[in-house]
Amino acid sequence: MRGDIVLRIADLTLGFRRGRHTAEVLHGISLHVRRGEKVALVGESGSGKSVTARLALGRLQQEKGTLVTGTIEVAGIEATRDSARIAAARGKIVSMIFQDPTSALNPVFRIGEVFNEVLRSGGQRLSRRAAREKAVRALAEVHIPDPERCLDSYPFQLSGGMNQRVMIAMALVNEPALLLADEPGTALDVTVQAQTLKLMNEMIERHGTAVLFISHNLSVVREFADRVYVIYRGNIVEHGRTEQIFAEPRHPYTRALMQAAPKLVAAGLPDLPETSPAFRDPLIVHEGCGEPGEVAA
C-alpha cells in the first residue's frame, strides 16, 4: 500500500539558526497523504503548519540557517536535503494555492501571461495557440464565465473569488500529484469561501489529486477533509479520520479548539485558557489511523 503515498513526512524537525541561538519550530512530526486523499493539518499561528507546506514545496531548505532532519518525500522525490529536484518539480508534481489569491498573483502580468509561465514550468511545449486553448479550457473547468476575457485581465480587475478560481485552475493545469492548500479562501467572504471549497472538492475528485490542506479553522476542515492532523507548537497532537476527530476529540488541545470555535447555535461563551500544560500531552492516534509502516491498520 506504500505505492499510493504521495506525501510522506517522517520524524521531521526544523530549526532556524540565528547566531548561536537555534529556534526549534518542528519537533519530529510524521504525516502522510495518499493519492486522491484530502488531509488537513490544523493549528494556530506559530504551530508549524505553514513551514511544513513550504518544506514540501522545497522552499525553505536552501535558506541560510535552516536546519532540517528527517524525511520529506513528495511523489517519491526525497526533498529533505536535495531540494533542487523538488524545486524543479514545483508547479508540475507539487503546486500550491494561497490564502489571498489577489496578492498571490503578480499584479503586473495579465492572467494569460502567468498561465503561459505555469504551462511552461510544467514542461509542456505548446504553441501559443495551443497554450491559450489549454488555459481557456482550464478556466472553463473552474466555471469562469468568460475565459478569454479573464486571460486578458490583470488580477486587480477580477474579484477575489475569480482570482481564487484562477489560482485553482493554474495549480491543477499540470496535473500535479500533490496540492498544498494554505487556508484557501479565508481572505474571502463566507459565501465565496464556501464556493471555493466546493470547487476544490470537485476538481480534486476529477483529477485524483492528493491534498494537504492547511487551516486554523476546524469548521472548514470538517467540511473538507477526509483525515485530520492537529498540530500544536511543532508537535502533532492528534490524528484521526475527520468523523472520529469531530465525534470524539481526545486531546486536550483539540477539545479546546473545538470549544473555542464560534458556533451558529446559541451556546454562550466558553471559558477557556489561551494555553495549558495539557496541550503538550503526547500524540493521540485514532483507531485505524497511523503512519505507514508503523501501524498494521
Binding site: 494556530e44 477575489g160 463566507v190 459565501t191 470555535a261 451558529l264 461563551l269 471559558d271 477557556l272 494555553t275
Partner: protein
C-alpha cells in the same frame, strides 16, 4: 432619556470615482438601543464599514443623519460627543503606533480630551490595563513585543480610556487565533456588562457574534436587508441574503449542521412561514 442611543435616519453615502458614482449606503435606518450589542453583518462591499466610518465621524454622510443620544451628530462636530464613541479595529498591530509605548497609546485619548491631571492619567492607564487583563508593567512595552491577543487588549483599553458610551468594534477578533478570539470575546462581553457599554459589532462572520449579539442587522450592497433580535435572525431569517449567509458558514458540530440545513431548506420552499 431615550432607550435608543444611536439612530440613523435615511442615511446615505455616495462616493465619486472619476465619472462613476458608487452608492455605498442607501437609505439606512438603524436603531441601536442603549446597552445592547448590535451586530452589523455583511460581506465585503455591503456598506458595513462605510456605516462605521460615518458614525465615527471619519466620513461625512451624503444623505440623512445620525442622531446620538438625542442630538444630531455632525461630521467633525462636537468633540465631547465624539469622545463618547470609540473604535476598536481589526488589526491591532496597524491600529497601534509601533513607536509609541503601550502606556502612551492608552493615555492618548486622555491627553486629547484633557481628562485628569498628569498623575491621574498614569494611574488610570494602570487600572485600564488591569481591567483588560494585562499587568500594569505592560505600559512600558512596545506593540511589537506583544502577542496578537495582548495587542487587541491594549486597543480595547485605549477605546475605554475616554469613558465612551458606544464602542464600534470592526472585526475585532478576525485576525486572532481561535483560542485567543474566545478570550477576547469573553472580555468584550464582560466589559459591556460591567460598564453598561453599547456595542456596534461589525463582522462578516455570523458565528462570531452568535454568543454576543442581542440584535443583528444584515447589510447587502449598501442596504439593510434585515434587522431583528439575534435569536430570530438565526432561527427564522426572512431575507434570502441572510439565509444564504447562514447557509455558507462552515460548521463544527452536528447541532449547527441541523440549523444550517433547516435555514437552507427555507430558501428552497418559498411557502415557509416563520
Amino acid at each position: 432619556m431615550s432607550d435608543i442611543l444611536l439612530r440613523t435616519l435615511g442615511l446615505g453615502k455616495t462616493f465619486t470615482v472619476g465619472r462613476r458614482t458608487v452608492e455605498a449606503l442607501k437609505d439606512v435606518n438603524l436603531e441601536v438601543a442603549r446597552g445592547e450589542c448590535h451586530a452589523v453583518v455583511g460581506e465585503s462591499g455591503s456598506g458595513k464599514s462605510t456605516l462605521a466610518n460615518i458614525v465615527l465621524g471619519i466620513h461625512p454622510a451624503t444623505a440623512g443623519e445620525v442622531v446620538f443620544d438625542g442630538k444630531p451628530l455632525h461630521y467633525a462636530g462636537d468633540p465631547t460627543l465624539r469622545r463618547r464613541i470609540q473604535l476598536v479595529q481589526q488589526n491591532p498591530l496597524s491600529a497601534l503606533n509601533s513607536r509609541r509605548r503601550v502606556g502612551a497609546s492608552i493615555r492618548l485619548p486622555l491627553d486629547v480630551h484633557r481628562i485628569g491631571t498628569r498623575a491621574e492619567r498614569a494611574t488610570r492607564v494602570a487600572s485600564l490595563l488591569e481591567e483588560v487583563g494585562l499587568a500594569p508593567e505592560m505600559a512600558r512595552r512596545t506593540p511589537a513585543s506583544l502577542s496578537g491577543g495582548q495587542r487587541q487588549r491594549v486597543a480595547i483599553a485605549r477605546a475605554l480610556a475616554a469613558n465612551p458610551d458606544l464602542i464600534v468594534l470592526d472585526e475585532p477578533t478576525s485576525a486572532l487565533d481561535v483560542l485567543v478570539q474566545a478570550r477576547v470575546l469573553a472580555l468584550l462581553d464582560r466589559l459591556r456588562r460591567e460598564r453598561g457599554l453599547t456595542y456596534i459589532f461589525i463582522t462578516h462572520d455570523l458565528a462570531v457574534v452568535r454568543a454576543l449579539a442581542d440584535r443583528i442587522s444584515v447589510f447587502a450592497e449598501g442596504r439593510m436587508v434585515e434587522t431583528g433580535p439575534a435569536d430570530r435572525i438565526f432561527n427564522a431569517p426572512q431575507a434570502e441574503f441572510t439565509r444564504n449567509l447562514i447557509g455558507a458558514v462552515p460548521v463544527a458540530t452536528e447541532e449547527e449542521e441541523r440549523l444550517r440545513e433547516r435555514v437552507r431548506s427555507m430558501g428552497r420552499s418559498p411557502g415557509f412561514a416563520a
